[in-house]
Amino acid sequence: MLKISIDKLSALYDAIAANNELILPVRKAGVVDYASYEEGADVAIDTLKTAKSPKNAFFPQFETLYNVNKKIIPTDASAEEGACEGAGVALRSTLSVEMAPLVDKDFVIFGIKPCDVKGIEVLDNVFLAEPVDNFYKARRDHGILVTMACNEPEESCFCSAFGIDAADPSKAKADVAVWMADGNLYWKAISPKGEALTESVKSVFEDSDEAAVEATKASIEGILAKLPNANLSLDMWGKGVLDDRFYSPVWDEIFKPCLACGTCTFVCPTCQCYDIKDYTTKDGIQRYRCWDSCMYSDFTMMAHGNNRNSQKERFRQRFMHKLSYYPDKNDGMFSCVGCGRCVDKCPQSLNIVKVIKAFEASKAKEGQA
């Protein structure tokens, strides 16, 4: 295990940034989100929860997939149909497709919390499943995750319900685990990628034992146990519960305050719905993909109708997807990591915890009856 004094963290950042793009929590106009480490960046490394999840680094809110270019070229076959007549040289219009470049430089996400690491695992199951999404894969291949223990978890956190250990990031599927304890940052590589990164920045560290880390782990565990939703029951959810939950009357009332905005979706580390759209450019189009939300009324709208026409259906879709459909497809793994961002951010204070609790309550009521 290595350590560096928290006062000297900028030396570590500089060392990492020397060879990689460094992405870490940065405060901008009062809000902390993951952003590039660049001059003047107001790094807020002790932020427990960034407003948005770091999924942007792998699955950006907007990315160009390819360009379709329209070119007008001379053609020798002037008699060919579709060629321009009478304009001297025979011309014809052609299309060519140019795929956007894939990410080919390493980057480091520093300070990512264990729940968000799990969130990336959730995305992996979607984007790396056949057929592989190469845009995502390139970023995954080049992304190095430095995950940090959550020293002071808050009441909106419920990651432990999903088996995530906020005290011990070394259990996460990341590359380096770090802790902040007694004025130092402790560093431990947990993957070959992590070891390579460690090697390149080793000079800024000194060796250390694990005593301080162990103490911090114990303290965090103590707090985690006291969190109000530490023991949130997921018994009613997972594989094979589709029919029972889908038709539940709980949905009939609970969705009502939902604004149909995309706040929960866009701050969520696991939501991965996207839209593909065209932008007309000078000589063709740019086809891009951008985040979309299943909560939006036009998400499934077609020319002749909408298969999820009411907000109830759309609301149900989001939670059924996270707690039932996704587990069905991924061996019981939930598409929620308990980061609690939706708990903090929902304009109407409606969130996945309330949904889970509402189902529990309705089951308890049925039990009584």
Binding site: M99, A100, P131, C273, D278, A303, K329
Partner: protein, 277 residues
């Protein structure tokens, strides 16, 4: 530029032929710019066809894989993309990506079986791929019955092929019907489900149904009346799609993605899904 080809990135296709099928359906022949087919596919599979700048949409490939020269899409005019497609000319370029989705089990379950195809309107498009595949491999399948109906005689897609090819293949029976009486039409008149019961097919076959939702509903009832069970009836579904590879989150019905796990479903599978289609 990357050499990696992503499944989201399409190929350029050239329209090499356009046939007016009905007043609002055209069949487009598509080739690679250098000639030949853009890709190989199986009957029932779809592709994303796109007019850049307008939009992209999922269409079933209506030609049979046994056609080695080109692929065909029969497309009905019903929105901005299809409107634009209908205004294109031979020689114009579009982009195509695919094939996507599963296919009818022509090499497994269907093999050696009698097949009953029931289609309404543009619903013939996905089935035509299977029918021609079966006709081209005629010895692999038993009796083939085709029941096809449309609003009017003018709305019967691929009528020429039906009359000149299908009707002349041994052990293939074609039953055509139109919704309302029409001058010059001496065939059957009436809705498909009604005609189905009138003919009364035996249950020794696999039913393959495609058409408007309301027709499917009544055909299904009709088939059940005749003694068919859900697990011997197949259909294809259609929902809004963007990625076509089960990632964009749009076309799921419960835990199934129509684009990836479908579009071909057996009715007993469909019955297990929530009613969101």
């Amino acid at each position: 530029m990357s050499n990696v080809i992503d499944t989201l990135v399409p190929k350029v296709g050239v329209i090499t032929g356009i046939t007016d099928e009905t007043p609002d359906v055209k069949t487009f022949k598509v080739n690679a710019p250098e000639g030949g087919k853009l890709f190989e596919h199986m009957p029932g599979q779809c592709a994303m066809v796109c007019v850049p700048g307008v939009s992209e949409g999922m269409f079933s490939i209506t030609s049979s894989p046994t056609n080695k020269e080109f692929q065909e899409f029969s497309i009905k005019k019903c929105g901005s993309l299809t409107d634009t497609l209908h205004s294109l000319q031979v020689g114009d370029m579009i982009t195509v990506r695919g094939p996507y989705g599963n296919n009818f089990p022509v090499d497994t379950v269907f093999k050696g079986k009698n097949l009953l195809f029931i289609a309404g309107g543009i619903g013939l498009a996905p089935l035509r791929s299977v029918i021609n595949y079966c006709i081209d491999n005629r010895d692999d399948y038993g009796r083939i019955d085709i029941l096809y109906g449309s609003r009017s005689a003018d709305d019967l897609v691929k009528l020429k092929e039906i009359q000149e090819v299908w009707m002349n293949v041994p052990n293939v029976n074609v039953y055509l019907t139109i919704d309302r009486e029409q001058e010059g039409w001496d065939g059957h008149v009436g809705f498909v489900p009604a005609y189905l019961e009138e003919i009364g097919f035996s249950t020794d076959c696999i039913g393959i149904v495609c058409g408007p939702p309301i027709m499917i509903k009544f055909v299904l009832q009709g088939l059940k009346k005749l003694g068919f069970t859900d697990d011997q009836i197949y259909s294809t579904l259609e929902l809004r799609m963007k990625c076509a590879i089960g990632k964009c989150g749009r076309c799921n019905i419960g835990n199934k993605f129509v684009c990836k796990d479908g579009p071909v479903f057996r009715f007993d599978q469909i019955n297990e899904l929530p009613p969101e289609y």
